[in-house]
Symmetry: C2
Subunit: 160 residues, 2 copies
Amino acid sequence: MTTSAARMEGALADRDRWTAEDCSIDRAVRAIGSRTSMLLMRESYYGTRRFEDFARRVGVTPAVAAARLRELVELGVLERTPYRDPGQRSRYEYALTPAGVDFLPVVMAFMHWGDRHLAEGGRPPLRADHHGCGADVRTALLCAEDHEVPLDELSFRAGA
Amino acid sequence: MTTSAARMEGALADRDRWTAEDCSIDRAVRAIGSRTSMLLMRESYYGTRRFEDFARRVGVTPAVAAARLRELVELGVLERTPYRDPGQRSRYEYALTPAGVDFLPVVMAFMHWGDRHLAEGGRPPLRADHHGCGADVRTALLCAEDHEVPLDELSFRAGA
């Protein structure tokens, strides 16, 4: 057992005087936290673009895939564009926007935690490394001075 | 629009020959991805320990809080221990385990993404900084050589 927690500073120090009703974690989880949304984002990072491939690779019905992809487009993390193969009708593909690329640490943090704590036989199904360099990749909390920040050195205060 | 994606190497390169059925992202999201679980973990990082405080601060009924806390204990991210205030009956508090502390990057990655993309008026409700140093904290993908890894330099290959 560990007793560590973050440091709640200033107006946040007295926990009986506030609750986190305006919370970016809550907003983000509500917007994009469903299992299907997370797996659709995973597929985008793996290079999937076409509607049929999303539905098949995530293992959901076309109706579910369409509904969740529409939400991700409305949220601004994917962009829908038409394409047409020769002799076929026009179809749609879905590409990551900058806001979608920016979501990568969430998905990778889930992967890394799952690798360490839930992998069958302790063997992660995929290995992520840095192309060229070859070193393993992990998700880290860093400060702007490039220090790694453990939980008990993390301070929260009310936003400006 | 960006066209970037990760690099799928070796046996993963041909996307028509595999689907990510054994996936650490999926396992982790199924185990701990619900909104209530995420907010209970947030409260643990903020220092909440007592059952009544979890229920009130997350804004769920005692029955929902009890069910989700039980799942988090079974998963091994929280540990339940009895305590007793003078003159009161014995109650329970919930402390982070090492596996629970290890989940911090997931919650912080959601917070940072929400801060950047969903904060009302563009103003994040909380500011996270590095205690002592004072620099802002962010979630980053780092390789073991301490390079920051953008999506198009991220390589995936099948696990050993």
